[in-house]
Symmetry: C3
């Protein structure tokens, strides 16, 4: 694909600076770009690299120095970059149909242009929307539903009766609808509480590789639309994850916890069960959350505190050994003062 | 399925309160229940909801107010709930036989009524007990053994020569018998120590989605009967996990560590290698265990401490910045006292 | 297989002590060994067990007491043990060819003696070197390349265009080349930044079960030769992992971070993005790394500190509650001194 800079400026709705006839065939970072590339400045820290890049053009935020470069000026160059990567590099998935070695159960209902690769299998009574792609080794269990334009990568499992929306991407090995972890002690051991609920994944969700989302005991574990979940995340049974959340790798959310919309959980965060994390709350990487967090708050630490308090605490902790020495010294000095003052008082 | 309340009371061995002829067709939580449901009170905190639920009947603990509701009174309503969910909703897996697209190696020994789905494969000389179910994409390697009534969900791997007991459930993507992580430095890099042992999973164990249990270097990694392991857990080579343990999601147990019976490890706990965690010990979520823990103890924190000490410590840590200020202030005041007292003494 | 002790001494280049004609048929730990085994002393702590083992011979470090046992003395008995386990127990993988139920796309290029098990699939234009083994359920996507003598265990995914070197072992369920986690906020939600780079795994790397390594946004995520990665590890997009690193289970490394050669990351460590961890640096288990670490340093803790400082801090923290009491007591005593001294001064 080849586009002129003028065409790209129109595509992005940005302002052209310099030669609109420059021909662009791809996107690259400022340091790696060649003349045929358009690059982007997303962080002012790297502004000086605009002067030295070999890129044929650069996406710039308003007010940034262009160092004589051809440029497109737009409010959000990072978003512009994302859109151009999509334009230049992303092709719609190939429609390959039901390939030999794909397995369809009884009563499967399918939309148009579905692709099922060899070794993928679809259980009895499952429903697949239009243009669904199931890569090799995908297992869609009986009665599950997959919305249109959804892509399930190799070795994904969608368990019985779970529902996945449209334009969802699920990466390799992720599991939707495994049993929640629930047992009742019966005096001898642990009696399994059958997990007879489901998982509902709404539209435009993306789920990372080897992430696991457990089905509800009763009812549904729900991931609302637009939420993005990274690799190796655990979402336990009966959780409700709001719209447009960002859940980074290796997070664990315990059972029945509710996340509001636009919540961000940093990598390796753990959240206890039956909590509420309010809309637009953020939790710093590796934190342990044992209490609900109000909307809009930023928390960090183990156990999690308001972020600024955690920063102050984290700075102070390494000084505790020294602090203990100081206190012992003060104690000695006080003892000395007490003795001397008592002597003085007895005079 | 439909049962009268009287039949359910007999089934559970509980005492009937109210109308035994009420017809029940399912189980639901207090808030979601309809008239056809039986619900349950497992936590006194929700006792008032017994008054407002629309459920046709409620499982209650002895002494709980029934607010005029039809009820079954029994010692452990939560266990009763689990048993009724099983009664109403759980059906034995369908016997489907060896389906087209299933692969059996040479010399496979199989019991009665085995189900092998398309895309599952069983290696040479493997043994499957009666009523084993292998979902699509399951890979049972050469010489592995799977006990009767065991269910392996889609994309589970059981590596060469590993042994899985009866009535075991392994969820999607879990790996039993991957190589332990062992290398000997050889001056240039890391020389692989072949992991020639196996994994033994005893009867009635449940293993969560994408959990990994490594084979022993020599000998066996052992998971004893009745133990329940959640998703994304790592059990390293040569570990011994006792009977009826509860291991919550994203826990990691390092090599050669031994867990006694009925040990509970909370989510995201890490346990170092070559330790012993005594029977019925509990470790709080996200803790880091660097030393052995005696039987029956509760530990928490990083590094893990006796739980009450950890609670006190965790409460105190956010006050360290203020404590440092206090100490600096005291130091100033002591300096002042010292000067003034010295002046007084010189009078 | 049977070898005389003399043959083994020559094989390992060690010094024979005792009867060279003893016949050895296997390797076992000091406690488990029988007369037909050779055992090894890798840790002086267990030196006394050399006296009591039933092993027919023992690998000993120079200067260790042999208690009259037949022995081979060599600089690194642990490496010798690893080599003997390889000698006695490891057989080259069986060459089985392209088995029925294996799927090959168009234009696949293959070396000699490739094994593709049933249910494994190889995408269009992929390349497999000599003696590659693909276990059941492996998905090699279009255009991927797999080097000679590499083994991909069941249900491994190698995504489009990724490159895996020679003599690489990838354990079950691991994912190479899933999309990096990158989005640009677009005012309504999160716009996906297409991840159009690849992953490059160099020669002699080993990757654990269910580990995930994300493809680069642009360019490549790189794992250099000889590096060993344990189970359930997350390596984010655009990371560079140097040669011969050791990355223990459940570690997470965020985007664009660079690890030098021979770096060791303990279990459950988290490393933030865009950092540099210098060559031969070590990070203790469960640490959270928010800043770059210079070469050769040992860091621990959350947030990570130089290891010795972390140890001192971790020892001191449980004493903070008591320290607070001490400080309150001192404050009271100072107040008392101040009052008494003021009274004295007014006299």
């Amino acid at each position: 694909m080849e586009k002129t800079l003028k065409e790209l400026a129109e595509y992005l709705g940005g302002d052209l600076l310099g030669d609109g006839d420059v021909r662009i065939t791809g996107v690259a970072g400022l340091d790696d770009a060649e003349e045929r590339h358009i690059s982007f400045l997303a962080n002012q820290k790297y502004a000086a690299r605009v002067a030295t890049t070999r890129a044929g053009a650069v996406l710039l935020p308003p007010g940034a120095e262009n160092y004589g470069r051809n440029a497109i000026v737009l409010g959000n160059p990072y978003l512009g970059f994302a859109k151009l990567v999509t334009l230049f590099y992303v092709r719609p998935p190939e429609m390959k149909g039901i390939m030999p070695g794909a397995y369809l159960g009884n009563g499967v209902v399918m939309g148009a242009d579905v692709t099922v690769y060899p070794g993928a299998s679809v259980g009895d009574g499952a429903r697949l929307g239009d243009r669904v792609t199931l890569f090799p080794g995908v297992a869609v269990y009986d009665g599950a539903e997959i919305g249109s334009d959804t892509v399930l990568h190799a070795n994904v499992s969608i368990r019985e009766r779970c529902r996945v929306g449209s334009r969802v991407i699920i990466h390799n090995g992720a599991v939707v609808g495994s049993d929640g972890f629930g047992y009742a002690p019966d005096g001898r051991g642990h009696y399994k509480i059958p997990q007879v609920g489901i998982v509902v994944i709404e539209d435009d969700v993306e789920i990372g590789a080897n992430t696991t989302i457990d089905r509800a005991a009763l009812g549904a574990t729900i991931i609302r639309r637009g939420t993005k979940i990274d690799n190796l995340v655990q979402i336990a049974h009966n959780c409700l994850v709001g719209e447009h959340c960002i859940i980074v790798s290796q997070v664990g959310v315990s059972g029945s916890t509710k996340l509001g919309d636009f919540v961000t959980l940093g990598g390796q965060v753990g959240v206890a069960g039956h909590l509420e994390i309010g809309a637009r709350a953020m939790v710093g990487a590796k934190s342990g959350v044992h209490n609900s967090i109000p909307a809009g708050q930023v928390f960090s630490g183990i156990p999690a505190l308001p972020h600024k308090q955690w920063l102050r605490t984290a700075m102070a902790l390494p000084k505790v050994p020294e602090l203990r020495k100081t206190v012992m010294d003060l104690e000695r000095r006080i003892k000395d003062l007490e003795a001397r003052l008592a002597a003085k008082e007895e005079e």
